[in-house]
Symmetry: C2
Amino acid sequence: MAKRSGVLELAVLGLLHESPMHGYELRKRLSSQLGAFRALSYGSLYPCLKELVRQGLIAESTDPDASGTRRSKIVYQLTADGKEHFQQLLAESGPASWDDESFGVRFAFFGRTDADTRMRILVGRRGRLEERLDNLRGSFSRTRERLDDYTTALQNHGLDSVEREVRWLNELIDDEANRKQTSTPSSSEALSLGDTTKE
Amino acid sequence: MAKRSGVLELAVLGLLHESPMHGYELRKRLSSQLGAFRALSYGSLYPCLKELVRQGLIAESTDPDASGTRRSKIVYQLTADGKEHFQQLLAESGPASWDDESFGVRFAFFGRTDADTRMRILVGRRGRLEERLDNLRGSFSRTRERLDDYTTALQNHGLDSVEREVRWLNELIDDEANRKQTSTPSSSEALSLGDTTKE
DNA sequence: GTTAGCATGTAAGGAGTTACATGATTTT
DNA sequence: AAAATCATGTAACTCCTTACATGCTAAC
């Protein structure tokens, strides 16, 4: 029954939320704007679009930008149902949201996500990464597994990358917290917004 | 016909090259040691092992470490054919090797990879990342697409991560180049692999 | 003695790719 | 007028996950 429940659906709805587009253009934006779906195949995208049409979340219309002559260049746009569904999807903040693939896409749509959901996703993502950190550091010290230089180098690089992302998330979480307190009269302090220390 | 041609095959053969193991243990190492296949399901691993047995690349044997009493705890080990096949796989350095998923696994086995192949993979990987960088920077300046703060933050973080990996690769490539020139029979260099620079 | 973790599997299905097939539009 | 790129689609297949099903072993 083609649930098409993945991140792709969310990404497509989100991009179409900004402006109507045809499939080809959509594909480019998925990688250039969202970073996800680096090289999504049309064999994946077009069936997904068809399914979204079938569900009534998007509508197709032939491009009217050239009078008469042009052939069917199908432009997709969000329906009212589609907008509603998109907001529902955005409101979800469960474990699925902190996956590598999902997180980026959800984050890109934070502009249309409410503050509570944003915070839950950021904290959830950080938790996920900290688990990963524990595993990496754990296996490093557990049995001092005799790994060769290359394997060690790989693990260290991985560790650094994850630590970096955690620091990035910490800044974002601070920003969100400040943003929330800014409206209250008696907030404790004001932390530095914007980009922070570099070392 | 179960080609099982993916990275998983390579990873399994590589881990079994170090020591015989049973499936459960293998699964843990795949994530802790190789970083890849974070949470590979048994529904994926066991069929893969079965297929490798069928191809004669690994052999199963019941664990003899406890006399008599224990039930079948299947230990897998590389066959001669398996070792040969593993070396063949390691010698490949085509575009498939510079993918995100493949690269980490291949890098982890650099200790058993010849110098030329190592260099081709490192340079290929760097090229792949530089393409990505061009796309990111290109789309940034192309139309100064009016992206909201969150999307911009995401892209910047992505950009930083990729740049970091490129610098890491540059160091590794330098090390490899030095190693090649220093390869007099006498010295065994203890090269500083891994993260070096901090800013 | 029961919970938690070790250990092995299978069947159904989801999410994507590859390879193929077609045609329109723009650039050289 | 040829080549490149834009644009849309389908069928077969791959790889992996989920959900199920089973049983052993150690610790509390």
